[in-house]
């Protein structure tokens, strides 16, 4: 870290960013919108969320020379990086933003022009499109100094990050989490993961030239745990009938738990959000004006279609009250224990839904269905994501057999808007709505 960039960063953090946010807010002042007949008034916390994320991306531009930058996968134990002062960015998060703005297809096409197959995960293609062309329509990501990945979500991130490591000529650290084919706790898997953590800490000390601060590490774990618990409570507010928010809201509000985990700003944010949601639930304010059926979503969002889907489902009185995807950040992180940091980190990160056998996933879904009083399930079969999608057909069948839960499969993609068959999806969903109404 050199002095001038550090001062510049500090200035932007304390003065520049707040001013820029204020300025942006002024510029965006629009006349109040008439109330939406389908939805409750937007959550006040959403504005804070936008600020938080914009600020995070905005400040990332001033990191050069001031602090090291790590690109991290959404399921990596980022807590280990925090004491080393890395500025962390999540390419998956950035790809989802591109998807939501319907520019994912364009970014994917850049990667495809360079030989990347259209069959690959679109988060990866968008990111590679960005790495190859140098810019993105949703801002600019600073060049990474380090890549930090965990295959607890998929092996895909390993293949993808190997390319980044080769392109940028920087180190890649993989935290390898053996796939949990059986339920056995501890044993060699845990020993292996803890051993890796120790080796990773040593490696980071070598790379950064800094001693690992164990106290700061424990504090980070504490913070991450509390934030996850808050996120879990945020999601649990949707148990109320009517639910004060839907999964479409939660998809947006999960950004801090994914990208800012272990930071004070994320904890503060969820306190705010929780307060608002609890208050809504108490007053009986539902996210959609008429909640007739309660649904569960499986797999990652279809980012480019979020708004259309939110409107479509709301217009049929269908409220999404739970999702395996949003639940993933509340499911295991509470296992974190500042008293046994490495071991608990290994447990928490390796037990996530995508790293677990399908029977575990099914049981989890059964629990969510019961707890959230779900009437039907929408399964997004996402071309991008093999670990999420392989097994979904059987899960659908088994949930019908075991809990009589009807479901529909929609074949689409997470961020590449080109892989979406409008007519076909609509027809399927309409038929599903009809079947649910008849129940």
């Amino acid at each position: 870290m050199t002095l001038l960039p550090a001062i510049r960063y500090r200035f932007m953090k304390d003065i520049g960013a707040p001013a820029a946010m204020r300025f942006a807010k002024m510029g965006k002042k629009r006349p109040a919108r008439p109330p939406d007949p389908l939805f409750a008034p937007p959550l006040a916390a959403t504005r804070r969320l936008k600020e938080l994320i914009s600020r995070h991306y905005f400040l990332s531009r001033y990191t050069r020379g001031a602090m090291p930058v790590a690109w991290v996968t959404s399921g990596a134990p980022v807590e280990i990086l925090r004491p080393f002062g890395y500025y962390t960015l999540y390419p998956e998060n950035h790809s989802a933003l591109c998807g939501a703005q319907k520019v994912g297809g364009r970014m994917c096409a850049h990667a495809e022009e360079h030989g990347y197959s259209p069959d690959l995960c679109s988060y990866a293609r968008i990111d590679l499109g960005h790495a190859l062309t140098g810019n993105t329509p949703v801002g600019r990501l600073p060049r990474p100094d380090l890549l930090f990945a965990s295959n607890n979500i998929c092996q895909t991130v390993l293949y993808w990050y190997k390319i980044l490591a080769a392109r940028y000529g920087i180190p890649l650290i993989l935290f390898d989490t053996p796939y949990r084919f059986a339920d056995a706790e501890g044993g060699p898997d845990l020993e292996y993961m803890v051993g890796q953590m120790e080796a990773i800490i040593q490696q980071l000390e070598g790379i950064s030239g800094r001693r690992f601060d164990r106290e700061a590490f424990s504090r980070t774990i504490d913070l991450a745990k509390e934030t996850s618990l808050l996120w879990g409570r945020v999601l649990a507010t949707m148990k109320a009938r009517p639910a004060p928010m839907t999964i479409f809201d939660a998809f947006a509000h999960m950004l801090p738990i994914v990208s800012l985990r272990g930071l004070e700003s994320a904890r503060g944010y969820y306190r705010l959000l929780l307060e608002e949601l609890e208050e809504r639930a108490e007053r009986g304010v539902g996210a959609i004006r008429e909640e007739r059926k309660r649904l569960m979503w499986d797999n990652i969002a279809i980012w480019p279609r979020m708004r259309e889907h939110a409107n479509l489902f709301a217009s049929h009185g269908m409220a999404f009250v739970t999702a395996t995807y949003t639940n993933a950040w509340a499911e295991t992180t509470p296992l974190l224990d500042p008293g046994r940091p490495l071991e608990s980190l290994a447990k928490a990160y390796s037990c996530v839904i995508l790293n677990h056998h399908l029977e575990h996933r099914l049981k989890l879904m059964e629990r969510l269905i019961r707890e959230y009083r779900v009437d039907g399930l929408v399964i997004h079969s996402a071309r991008s994501c093999k670990p999420y999608s392989v097994g979904q057909y059987d899960i659908k069948r088994l949930l019908l057999e075991r809990l009589s839960i009807p479901s529909v499969v929609i074949e689409a993609d997470i961020a590449d808007e080109r892989a979406y068959a409008e007519e076909q999806t609509r027809t399927r969903l309409e038929a599903f709505f009809e079947a649910l109404e008849e129940e």
């Binding site: 360079h114 030989g115 990347y116 197959s117 069959d119 690959l120 995960c121 990866a124 295959n151 998929c154 092996q155 895909t156 390993l158 293949y159 993808w160 190997k162 390319i163 490591a165 080769a166 392109r167 890649l172 650290i173 993989l174 935290f175 390898d176 053996p178 796939y179 084919f181 059986a182 060699p188 898997d189 020993e191 292996y192 051993g195 890796q196 080796a199 990773i200 490696q203 056998h357 399908l358 029977e359 079969s381 071309r383 093999k386 670990p387 999608s389 392989v390 097994g391 979904q392 057909y393 059987d394 088994l398 074949e411």
Partner: protein, 378 residues
């Protein structure tokens, strides 16, 4: 132009000593005359020698000649045909004769397929899972590999009785012998001292997927004795990718007078360790073997290492270019391709990609692309 030696080809074709035995018949004989147990093994790296030591015959499932119909009810259209066909086989009545199935951990698709098979589709079939470490930290990986191998041994022992240390040592030694024999065969080919056709070579090599080493080792010796000779003329190429399917592509190369000089196929050359283990302890040796395997798209070895190896192979085998032979929807290989191809291009090595659906044969379009590519090779 290179033409395979006709008399060699005739010998290979006519003699039972070389032709691939029918799998079904072979499995029956193994059961009947040796009392061996039979395991279906999905693609990936696993300690074969451990299965041999339990007197289990691993029969690998890469591209069974089987139409997928039932598997389509369980797997989406965007899942690779290796997984689909494997699942079809598992759902088929033929799987009933298996004493177990082993899923080495290879990719996202196979990890879920293992669970799908074990938990929902064939709960009565014993399914074993073997996780291969991918960590970028060598020390914990080493220890973990040994623990995994021991863990697999314990699980096998529960069903098949205790592991005999003498058998374990012997089969471990035999695995090394097999590596060395294959390595020697590959070296002969790379050095232009093997005269058989490409089709005959791979038909022979792929017998390793299911022959017991007691049978395969002497076959290698005989194969070598018949095929060793000075190969003349012909353009030389290197193969990389997953597996040599459809075989018609190999025949097309033969017809065009092109010689495969070496390969980095996951199913073939990429399974031969770069150097022989030194340890006397079979557990340690299994780990040494695994960590000496060539860089692979499915693991954490840097792309640079794979590129350097490919380039070195091209040079040492005097190949004019590389044909990447991948499987449709195979993520690990598809991710590596652009970097590898541009890296090779920078080194002046041309390359071509053939994507196989495993059941299409050689399409006219692929044949044309192949011909055009070969024409531009030196």
């Amino acid at each position: 132009m290179h033409r395979p030696d006709v008399s060699v080809e005739n010998t290979l074709r006519s003699s039972e000593a070389f032709a691939a035995p029918n799998r079904k018949d072979y499995i029956q004989t193994q059961k009947a005359s040796h009392g061996r147990k039979i395991f279906g093994v999905f693609p990936g790296h696993y300690p074969r020698e451990l299965l041999w030591a339990f007197d289990i015959l691993p029969v690998e499932i890469w591209d069974p000649p089987i139409e997928t119909s039932r598997a389509d009810a369980h797997l989406q259209s965007y899942i690779c045909p290796v997984a689909k066909r494997g699942l079809e086989l598992i759902l088929d009545s033929r799987a009933r004769g298996l004493d177990g199935v082993l899923f080495p951990h290879l990719c996202d698709t196979l990890q879920n397929l293992a669970s799908l098979t074990a938990h929902y589709l064939q709960p009565d079939l014993p399914v074993y899972f073997f996780y291969t470490p991918k960590s970028t930290c060598p020390a914990p990986s080493w220890k973990y590999y040994i623990q995994q191998t021991r863990g697999l041994a314990e699980r096998l022992a529960e069903r098949f009785g205790p592991l005999d240390p003498a058998q374990w040592a012997a089969r471990s030694a035999q695995a090394l012998e097999l590596d060395r024999a294959l390595e020697a065969l590959y070296a002969l080919r790379a050095g232009g001292r093997l005269v058989c056709s490409n089709a005959a070579f791979y038909s022979f090599i792929r017998q390793a997927e299911y022959l017991h080493p007691d049978d395969f080792l002497p076959r290698i010796e005989r194969f070598r004795a018949v095929c060793e000779g000075k190969a003349t003329g012909g353009k030389r190429v290197l193969l990389s990718g997953i597996l040599p399917n459809p075989p018609e592509t190999l025949e097309a190369l033969d017809d065009l007078g092109v010689r495969v000089a070496d390969d980095d196929l996951l199913d073939a050359g990429r399974r031969i360790p770069a150097h022989a283990p030194r340890s006397a302890d079979p557990w340690e040796r299994a780990a040494e073997r695994f960590f000496a395997l060539p860089p692979c798209s499915t693991g954490s070895s840097p792309l640079k290492a794979r590129l350097e190896r490919l380039a070195a192979m091209v040079r040492s085998a005097s190949a004019g270019g590389v044909i990447f032979w991948t499987v449709k929807f195979c993520e690990p290989e598809a991710f590596d391709l652009p970097e590898l191809r541009s890296g090779l291009k920078r080194l002046g090595i041309p390359s071509l990609v053939i994507e196989s659906a495993l059941d299409e044969g050689l399409t006219g379009q692929t044949a044309t692309r192949l011909e055009a590519f070969l024409e531009m090779l030196p």
